[in-house]
Each structure stands twice: as C-alpha cells, then as structure tokens.
Symmetry: D2
Subunit: 335 residues, 4 copies
C-alpha cells in the first residue's frame, strides 16, 4: 500500500520533502499540492506524475485522494492547516514550528485530544539524527547513570542580515529545546539567558552569542550556547554529564588529514549537510507509522512545550531574570 | 518507471538484497526468484507481492518480465548466470566474487566485450561506503598529492572454524584488493605475503594474522594486514600517504564516552553494521544506473583484476616469494 | 650562585617542595626548616645535608643564611609568615591560598606595596602547566580572536567525607578562578552559582555538582562545572570560544588503545599526576626569577583577587543571586 | 655528591648536553672539555665555572678529576674514546652511533666484557620518551597480549641536500631499530626494504620514502616507513598489534582548535621539540645510575645490535632481497 500524500507549501523545505517522498523514500506518493504561489505549485506538479494542485490548503486536506498531509508552508499558516487536518481526521506532518504562539499550539493540542486520535507530528528532525540517537541510547541504557547536567552549543558560521535576536531562540535553539527534553526524558521549569559581549561579526539587530540556561523538573541543569556568527563552521556540541560518566554527541565522520602541520578533520559549513540524513529517516519513519495509522515522533504536546519554553527564553532575555516555564500538566493523552 | 528485478539465490545475502529492493530502495521491484532450494524460493516469493518462482536461474534470466538480474547464489554458480544474462542482453548485478577463477572472470569479460554493451556490475560495496568515498574525494581533489604508500588493516574479532587460510585473501582481503585500486586509480604488478607468528586465538587451518604487500604500476607500495581473530572488534583502517600529506579513512561515528577511567568510542563487532549503509547506496546506485541502461560501479574487468590479484597473493604466500600480477592490457572497452 | 631556601611547613606539600628543591630542580638548596611539629622538622632536616631547624617561622625568616622563603604551612598561618618575609625584605613563595580571607590578602598587598619591592608569589601552579600554556599562547597569538565565552569543568573521581560544599569553591574552583583570569587577561565582575540535583555519590554536607557562572569586565561569560564525585576520573576541561575560533585545553598524552570493543585513551585518577610537571616548572621558574631578584608568577594581587572572587561565589551560592565582585582598582604597583 | 663529567666534542649536540648538565639536571658538573676545534672548547669552557680544556679526548679521559665521560664528538671518533674510557674504568655515555661499523661496536663489546664492568651507555633517547614509555608499559603489563606486528612511521618535513639514501637507515630508522627491540623485548632475524616511487620533493641522491620490513626471533613482523620529505611535519607513529588488542604511541599534547572549517591539533615541525624532554630524562637517569656506579640504559650490546641491523637493512635495500641479521648469541654479560 502506497500512502497518498498532500503537501501544503512548495517553498524550499517543501521541495525537499517532495523530492524525498518521490525519489528517496518508499511507501508514499505525492498526489496533491497547494501553495499561496499557485504557479509554483503548478510547476512542481508538472514534474510529478499525477499530482493535482489545489487552490487552498483546506481544499487539499479535504480532497478524498489525500490520505495524509505534510505542512511546509510559512509558520503563521501552520495552525489553520493542522487544525483542518485534525478536523478531517487525517495524519499530518507539520514542519517546525507547530504554530507561532504557545496559545495556537495549545489550540492544536486541545483539538487533537478532542478528536480522540493521535494525528499530529512536528518536524523536529534531530530526534532522527544518528548521533543523537546513539547518545540517547547510551543515556537510556544507563551507561552514564542519571543525567545531572547538559553542556551544549549550536554554532553557525554566519547568518544573513535578516536574522535578528529572537531567531537565535525561536529558530535556532528551538532544536535544542526539543531535542534535550527528549534526550534526557525530562521537562523544563525555568530559563535564564546570559548575554556575553557581542562578536564583532554580528550586526546591529542580533545579540550573538548568547547562553541559555534551563533547569528541569528533575533538577538537571542545561547550559546552551548559541553562536551564529562563529565563523569556523556549523558545529553542534552536546555533552551529557551523568552520575557515572559523561557522554558526548559523536563528531560527524570525516577523513583524518595530516597536512600543513595539522592533524585535522573537516567541520561542515552547512547545516543542511549536517542533518540531511535525519530528514530522510524522520520522514520515512513518519510514513511507516502513518501506514499503520500511528504517530511515533514528536507530537503536538512537544510542539506546545517547545513554544512555551522558547517564550520563556525570550522573556528571560528581555528581563535579565529567571523566567518560569509554566504549562498545564501533561495530558494523559500524551503520556 | 519501476525496474523489474529477478533475484537468483535467496540465501542470506539474497534475502538482504530482496529486502532492500522491496522495502528500502526506490525504483525497483522484485518480480522473479530462483534458488537451488526451491522451497526457500517459494517461501520468499510468498512474502512478496506477485513475485514468480523459476526453477532455474537460466529460466529466470530468460523470463520476459525480468528486466535486470541480481546474482546472489553461491560463488561457483556465478559464471553461468552472468554469462546467461550477458547473452540475454540484461544488466546483471553479481555479488562478489564475479567468478571463482580468473579464467572464468576472463570468459565473462570476453563475453561482455563481444556483446558490445556494458551489462555487468560486481558487488564490491566498499566503493559505496561514505568513509571510503570521502577518502577517495580527498585523494582525487589532490589534498594529499600523488599517493606513494597505503597502510591498511582488515580486522575481525573472530572467525568460525570453517574459515581457513585462503579465505583471508579471497574472502576478506579481496575487499581491499578492489577498493585500493579504485581509491588510488592504479593497478597492481606484484604481491608478497608475510606471515607473522600466529595468534594463539587462531585454529590449525588458519594462518592469522598475515600481511600482504602489493606494488602498483605507478610505484605505490601497499601493506595490508589481515587479522581475523583480533578479538577487540571489526576494524577497518586505511592510511594513504601522499607527496603533500596523509589521509586516513574516517573512524565510524560513535558517542564519546568518559567512564571508568577511559575516554572512549565504541568499535563495532559486526562487519554487517560497519558497511550496512554502503549496501543500500550500492544497490540504489545500480538501480538508477540500470534505469538509464548503464553500469556505473565495479565492472567485469574489476572482478577479473581482483581474481588475478587474489591468485597472486595465494601463490606469493605459498611460495614465500614475490608473485607477479600479470594480466592482458586493460581492454579499451573498460577504459 | 645557589639560592638558600628556608621552608616553613614540612607537611605533604612541604615535603614535595623540599624534594623538588633538593633532587629535581637546579639553583636552590634547602638550608632551613620550621614546622609546628618540631620533630617532623628535625626528621626532615636529618635527611638533608646541613639544613637547620628553627623553632618558629619568624625565626627562620630572620635567619641570615635564609635568602628566600617557601611557605607551605597550613592556610591560616600564611598571612603572618608572608608579612614577616615582606618585612624582612625576602622573596617568598606562598602556597595557595595567599591568606584565608580577602582582608588578610589585602593586608599583604598593602604591605608589599609599602615595601616598594615585588616579593610575593602565590602557588597557582596551573599557569605553569604545559597544556594551559599552549592554550594561553594560542589565545595571546590571536588564533581564536577575542575571547567571548569559556566553558570549563573540574572533575574529581571522589572526595573524602571531610570535603564540604564551600571547598568546591575555595579549594577546587579556586584553580579555575586564578587560571581563567590569566588565560584571557581579564577580571571578573560578578558571580552566580547554579545547583543541579546532587549526584547520589555525594554526602550530606556537599552539594555536588555545582556550576559557577562568572562575568568579566570585558564581557566574557564563563561557565565552570565543579563535580568532585564524577566517578570516572580526574578531568580538567577548558574550551575558550573566540570571535574567530575555539580552542580547548589539550587532552593529556595517553596510549591509544583498541581493546574490548573500545578505542580509548586513559583518564587519570589522581590530580597529582595531572599537574605534577607544572609544580616543577613553577618552582624552577620561581628560583630563576628569585636569583634575579624578581617575581614572575602570580602575585599578591592575584591572591587577593582570587580570594574576593571565591567569596563572591560563596555568597552567590548562599543567596541564589548574582553577586558582584568588587575590588579597589588594581594598584599601579601590579600593573 | 656531584659527579664530575668530562665532555668530548662541543659541537651542537655537545653544547646541548653541556647545557643540560649545567643548567637543567641535578647531580653533575662539567669539569673537563675537549674538541678537535680547540678554540671552540676554550670558548665553551670560558662560560662554565672551572672547566678545564684538554687537547685530546684521551687526555680528558685520563684526567683524574674526570669521573665519567660523555662522548659527543663525530661518529668516526666514538670507538677510540669509548675504548679509552673502558680502559680507564670510567663510565661513558656515548651518543649514537656507538661506532660506525658493526665490527667496531663488537670491539667495544669485547673490551667491556673483558673489563668485567658495565661502563657504556649509548644515546638512544627514545627509550626515555614519555610516550614510548607509556606504550612499553602497556605492552609489558599485558594489556594487548603478546605482540604480533608493529606498524610504524618516521616522517620529517624535509631534509637538507647532504642527507643521502643510507642516512634514512643509519641516522633516521636507527631510532626505530633500537626502540622497537626494546619495546617488544625481541631481536631481529631478517630485514627487507621496499622502495616505493620517490616523492617529487626528494633529490637525486635520496630514495624517499622507503619501507623497512623486519622479522624477529619471536615471529613478530615489523613494517617501518621512513619518509623524510613528507612536507607536513615531524611525525612519529607506532602501532603495536597484540593477541588481545592494539596499542599506539600517544599523539603529543596539543591544543584542540576549531577554526577555518577544521577541527585540528598541531603537528610539530622540529624533531628536537618532539623528543626534547627525553634527552633530559635520559641524561638525568644516566647521572643517577652513574652515581651508583651502574648503567641502566641502552648498552654496548644494544649499540652493536643496532649496527648489525642497520647493515642488514642497507644490504637488503642494495640487493632487493631479504637479508639475514646474524649476530653471535647475546653474551651472558648483557643478559
């Protein structure tokens, strides 16, 4: 059985997911497309065999041939499409963020609970990265004992002018926000943000670097550096300190070179290369779960929790104080 | 267009390739099976939608719905099936070895040349390993200058009783034989084998470890250790020394652990895990080339060259001398 | 010219320094000893050729044959001996701490300034560690650009029952307090302490681990983990993030081992082994400077600054807030 | 008791040892000098307090105030001085080579045996390198089980024009020749030399790189690369493969740098820096043994064995065959 997928949003990430579904993954077929830019949707459809273009996301969701939905449109549109998919009882994969406000995420959570079915997966792809999975396995297997601290860093060589301070949290650190909760099986209770002197390579509207401190319900302390003009490369570090030992995220495989007085490996420059495999694994896993009518990956509650945490980080940075991270108790539905 | 594949041989490696073609790769479908064990072929077919069982490999090859052939039967049967595929004008992927003697390999080479079409690919999967590809790219990009020496090792934790001395060359080092030629774009001219004291962990019929020395046409010297009872893990090392620098095969990604007075990464125990991704890449690449009517990977000449080299290594070991590696000039067909 | 050294305090660290001065270093000779335990002083003197025992540190300092003084007595006695040495116009090497309160350190600073001569060196030996020196050289050479953040960790496998919470700061982190100022050529302006959940391997009177956050005048942010029951080894990590790159303290040299499915190096268990060479370098450097009538190493102001910083860390931990680190301006004398 | 040392030869290495004995090590004093260049000897003596200059090495050896002798004159003069020291019954430290021919080395061996006392130490400093010592300890402790193979490399960035082919063996690989015997407690029985294509960076009189193959009495196989125009740095690699695991020489400590898309450590350019500490340890150890009237380090037999091995390597290279390494049985005197 091949799964019929409708994709809403055929921009950069949409194109990539369409390519994956069509040429790299098995068990799915893109049968419907929609985009605010109708022409781009038409052009994309022309390259796919038998994909139909719908004028609205809602129409696509309602189409009988569409079994499952992928939402890769712009962030502000996510809420409406995900709610429509829930209403239609169709499984939906929504790229991060689930929605642009915590309130909107909560509306999705409530709608999904009301529907009685698990339908929503959020595109937090790090959970599908080989390195993170190996790290999580070591932790879950008890290799380092109970986690006590996490030290991590998220570094980009540079960012464009349009990248402003809030994005360091809501677009960049959001990946750590989701991945670390999952990694150590814990929830956050407070956030604090430290602002070192800016690098000279940043611009007027961007504080860079920053350090985010998170405390968890279980008493774990996390420090996370975000440094998006670090110059030297795209580099993701994560060290988990436990009661019996310390485990770190693997360095990506690289040829070991002895040249020019250096023993070196290569650090990637492009985040897409760093996590490219994880997108394939993520979407293939979603397809397989979907074919069984299930959701395995990060769910609406995870999307909501990430949004609340990001809001707290923003507030903590603005006020210079420790901001509490407050949510209702996790619904039994997501236990 | 989905490629219709016929698979001859449904043993362990056959099952794995069938699973890949069916569940992991795109663009192909297993439509025909054959095995000396007819019952196993039937059982396998029962799990696949619409695969037909043929009583002989030849019948499968002749079947009109079979567009391309995968040969994963036992080594001694390879020659006949590959020749039949060539005769039928069908693309054929043959697991290593291409054939069990150099003469048989040469018959395949001659048949393919006579057919006027490139039809045969041999299953040397290391060329598709991410690490080897990165190493080859560094070499091809001139990062280390012209290669002068290669130091390598092929280690297994242990082997079963049935694994005897010749297998260290024809089953184990054969991978290096093919991969190193490809890596440094060169051919071998002689072989020598050194036999250190045996490890106490070997058995009566197996010299372990051994060291194989190869010289190339271009004057490169290769030393290759084969140690199949090394105890500690499955470990593949390769260091290429060039005029401007030295490049080594990447260590596989692994969580970095600080525990029990050690800073450590994990060494795999199972060769299948080490190269598992490369099989997928190899077969997917073959499918894509096949859909375009081409062969991209290791060809019949490569299979022949590997056989001649392995024979020379065996002779060198038996005689304790340097054995020449003599072949006719590479046919223009394979230029 | 051999320097005549008087040593006050012949306990563990005193014995080590006496051994160094006598058997490992050149240019100095221990000629006088003193200890509250007179018998231990006599026994030590008996092993040295021609060392005289004095009943008090003050008497030793006053002795005409004593040219320079080493203070390795218990912390609370340091102030009096250092002040006496200053009064006598003799160079004095005082093991850390310079004195047990910031006020006492300031009295030493004032006395030294009043004396008009640089006489006091404090025993912060990390500045003499090969690894730290290489790291500082990289920073000073501009290899990573201007520092923005420092991430560090100070881990011990375990501590005895007598080691209580304050010691994590005043005995353990004190090394980072001095070394990091020196490393990045900056001073601290505030401290904050985070207290994760305790490891189950700690005891009732010790919060373990803790994280100390320091901000510097130059806007650098430092996070320092202290974890003294980390179980796995004595491990000192330090990563300095600059505007152009990131430099980390070298891992100590260790045989690289492939065994038991692990690729590993050894992590030391004993802090004495980790920094043993640095003590030799430190004291040899002091002797050479002393022979030239100078002080090269960490001075009284450094001892004072470390004491003020440690006090602020203790206060920050007690109050759970950010504690300012306030000192008078650095006297021109120490510019 | 300070040892009175006479130094014969005040060239580069002589100056370094004089400096060590005078300024860095304890327990010895240079009291006598001699050199074919009398003026240089006088100039050197002028800088030392109370060192007397002798017109010949023999006169220096005979001088009553000279207790022990250091020979750092040119290689061809070693034999005569060492024999004279033996005749005088004085301990002598002779820089490598012990003598320039195996026969001359044997005459020293015979003279020392005839004298009935252990007097001669040869300057093979690698045995005193921290990394080699750690590697030897791992082997001796049985961590990797019985050794079966050794893979090693000795690389220099470049050599001057005067460095010709034989020197790759007698000046460069000679260090491995001595160190590996000591490392694995074994003796060599044969040598073979492989000559890859020359690097374009070599000159007309130098085959570079070469590979030396040694077999030991115990059946261990050694392959050693010598590559003295490798361009990228001074790099010493050594991997010992045992029945239970594999141990490699530590990489020298180095700051870990993330910069310019590379994760790197620094490779040294200068062999003197690489082994500088080992010279201090070697000579200090010799002084301490000498004060006890003993020889701890590499002895005359080791010097002889190295000379015989180097001769066999030269012959193997010249003839292109396997050259036997034949010596009389090790005399009981050196057991």
């Amino acid at each position: 059985m091949t799964l019929n997928v409708g994709v809403i949003g055929v921009g950069m990430i949409g194109q990539e997911h369409i390519n994956r579904l069509t040429n790299k993954l098995v068990g799915a077929k893109v049968v419907a497309l929609s985009d605010v830019n109708a022409r781009q949707a038409e052009e994309t459809a022309a390259k796919l065999q038998g994909a139909k273009v719908y004028s609205t996301g809602e129409a696509l969701i309602a189409a009988p041939e569409v079994q499952v939905v992928v939402v890769t449109s712009s962030g502000p549109t996510h809420e409406a499409y995900v709610l429509a998919a829930i209403k239609a009882g169709k499984l939906v994969f929504c790229e991060k963020p689930l929605a642009t406000t915590a309130e909107a995420c909560m509306r999705i959570v409530e709608a999904e609970i009301a529907s009685g079915r698990h339908l929503v997966q959020v595109g937090f792809q790090r959970r599908y990265d080989k390195g993170y999975r190996a790290l999580k396995k070591a932790i879950d297997d008890g290799v380092i004992g109970a986690p006590l601290m996490v030290h991590c860093a998220h570094r980009n060589p540079s960012v464009p002018e349009g990248y402003v301070s809030d994005m360091a949290i809501v677009d960049t650190f959001i990946h750590e926000i989701d991945a670390l909760r999952w990694l150590i099986n814990d929830d956050y209770v407070s956030a604090q943000v430290l602002v070192p002197r800016n690098t000279k390579h940043t611009h007027a509207k961007l504080d860079d670097p920053i350090i985010i401190l998170l405390a968890t319900k279980g008493g774990v302390r996390i420090d996370g550096e975000v440094f998006v003009n670090c110059r030297y490369g795209y580099d993701i570090l994560c060290q988990v300190v436990g009661e019996e030992g310390v485990a770190s995220l693997p360095e990506p495989e690289s040829v070991l070179l002895r040249r020019d007085a250096k023993l070196s490996t290569t650090i990637m420059q492009d985040w897409k290369l760093r996590f490219i495999d994880s997108y394939d694994v993520e979407l293939q896993d979603w397809i397989e779960a979907a074919r069984a009518g299930k959701v395995n990956g990060p769910n609406a509650w995870d999307g909501y929790f990430a949004a609340v945490t990001a809001d707290a980080c923003l507030e903590a940075k603005r006020t210079g104080t420790v901001a509490p991270i407050v949510t209702p108790p996790r619904p039994a539905f997501y236990a």
